[in-house]
Amino acid sequence: MKMLINVPETVVPDALRGFAAAHPDLTVDVEHRLIVRKGAPYEGKVGLVSGGGSGHEPLHGGFVGLGMLDAACPGEVFTSPVPDQMARAAAAVDSGAGVLFIVKNYTGDVLNFDMAAELAEDEGVQIAKVLVNDDVAVTDSLYTAGRRGTGATLYVEKIAGAAAEEGAPLDRVAALARQVNESSRSFGVALTACSTPAKGGPTFDLPEGELELGVGIHGEPGRERRAMMTSGEIADFSVDAILEDLRPDAPVLALVNGMGATPLLELYGFAAEVHRVLAERKVSVARTLVGNYVTSLDMAGCSVTLCQVDEELLRLYDAPVATPGLRWGA
């Protein structure tokens, strides 16, 4: 598999150096693998820290900035960052108002953030944690590591980030983050596997003419393989999988997310199908976001995330944001 890299071992620091060059308004610490909002800590403001394996860009580093994260900790490709990174990030963004860790529910992320919280609390930083677990494809929570955190992470970071920007205290920011997670569900589909730099080729074998339903964002196969479906059929399947678990009685935010290698032309066509299905199911859509936001390297495919919102969540979603990956109103 051809890749635009030097050597697999340096893909993360190489990308961080480029990120620093492209975004001088952020502080990028390549050695310690941190992306921090310039000027942090902000007086009286709760700090938002997230992180996870690399390979999901723009998540999380691309969401650092006004109205969203204060710091992001990129790990190796598909590998959670280490506790030292999050503890350092917490120290860098804590103004005394405390820090919220936004953690996607994967065993590695949970363990490393837990250890980081202990380290940060030893240094006197007040830490709250929110676990994002929106992926309905994982149905058997008792016998698995539980639902994965995927597209809802964007909504959690956006809405909690807006509340923190307005000066909300830590417990309020954490409560909003949990509310967003509980109001969100996602479902993902792969048309191809993805290739990690370490492996140099596809992480699993997905033949031409087939697709994988219910995938996560780490190149792990999903729960079911079928013959290739049309965009409309995929939209029916994905939205219905979500609505089996979330029966919205209020408008939703809809994220039509690309996995990395699906052209926007296809993604917008898919967004139209998602809107069609939602209209048929009598679900009203308040806002729609289409693009590659929570990706899985070079995987072709898509995911749908729906987040039911009340007026307050919608107001916070609409609030100004200025980050490399998400920008409006600022």
């Binding site: 190796e76 959670s80 065993t107 363990l111 016998y143 698995t144 990690t196 492996k199 780490h218």
Partner: protein, 221 residues
């Protein structure tokens, strides 16, 4: 009583440093194979991550060599937590840090003390990860290994033979994960489809136990 282990050299800091060397060599040699095992049921990076961690640990211990066996294990555990990432970093880090702490400040320890310390480490892994035997995790290699080690020592085996028995049990345990359905970690998302693949974490655990057995044999413990 704090007797020297039967049949030869005591388990001292030099012994554990030799183990670290053997473990690092084994992880480096098997890195591609571990990553291959991690492809169908994980995310194809277990070998790469373990190699990064063990190379960093060996460098750290060479630069500032602790003078007790417990000290070496704690230092290795700390380095793994700081460099591996993923679930493996905290889990292997906890295994070795707990074991090292259980050995305390003694300059030399017996094989029985090492066996108890490894058991404490394995219990730490169980508490942190929440897994049990049969969940298709590293515990499926580590639990049989510490059981076999204790059994062999109780039966009067010397250190090298007992650690060889532990390594064999770990290896068997790792192989026995193939028909299991994963209930923890990333492989669990596959449900039934995790069946038929050997668990990469159990496999790397067996490598670490084999490194103990090789070290004991080489030094004539």
């Amino acid at each position: 009583m704090n007797a020297l282990p039967q049949g030869g050299s005591p388990i001292d800091a030099a012994f554990v440093r030799r183990w670290l060397d053997a473990a690092t060599t084994a992880v480096d040699r098997e890195a591609a194979a571990l990553t291959q095992l991690d492809s169908p049921i994980g995310d194809a990076d277990h070998g790469t991550n373990m190699r990064r961690g063990f190379v960093a640990a060996r460098t750290a211990v060479e630069q500032e060599p602790p003078d007790t066996p417990g000290g070496v294990l704690v230092a290795v555990g700390r380095q793994l937590i700081s460099t591996v990432g993923g679930a493996s970093g905290p889990l292997y880090g906890t295994l070795l840090r707990r074991a090292g702490k259980a050995l305390g400040d003694e300059p030399t320890v017996t094989a029985a003390q090492l066996a108890d310390a490894l058991r404490a480490g394995v219990e730490g892994v169980g508490q942190l990860g929440g897994a049990a035997a049969g969940d298709k995790t590293m515990l499926d290699a580590l639990l049989p290994a510490v059981d076999a080690l204790a059994r062999a020592l109780d039966a009067g085996s010397d250190t090298a033979d007992a650690l060889a028995a532990a390594a064999a049990a770990a290896d068997e345990g790792a192989k026995a994960t193939t028909p299991m359905r994963a209930r923890k970690g990333r492989a669990s998302y596959l449900g039934e489809r995790s069946i038929g693949h050997q668990d990469p974490g159990a496999t790397s655990s067996a490598l670490l136990m084999t490194a103990f057995a090789d070290t004991a044999r080489e030094v004539g413990a």
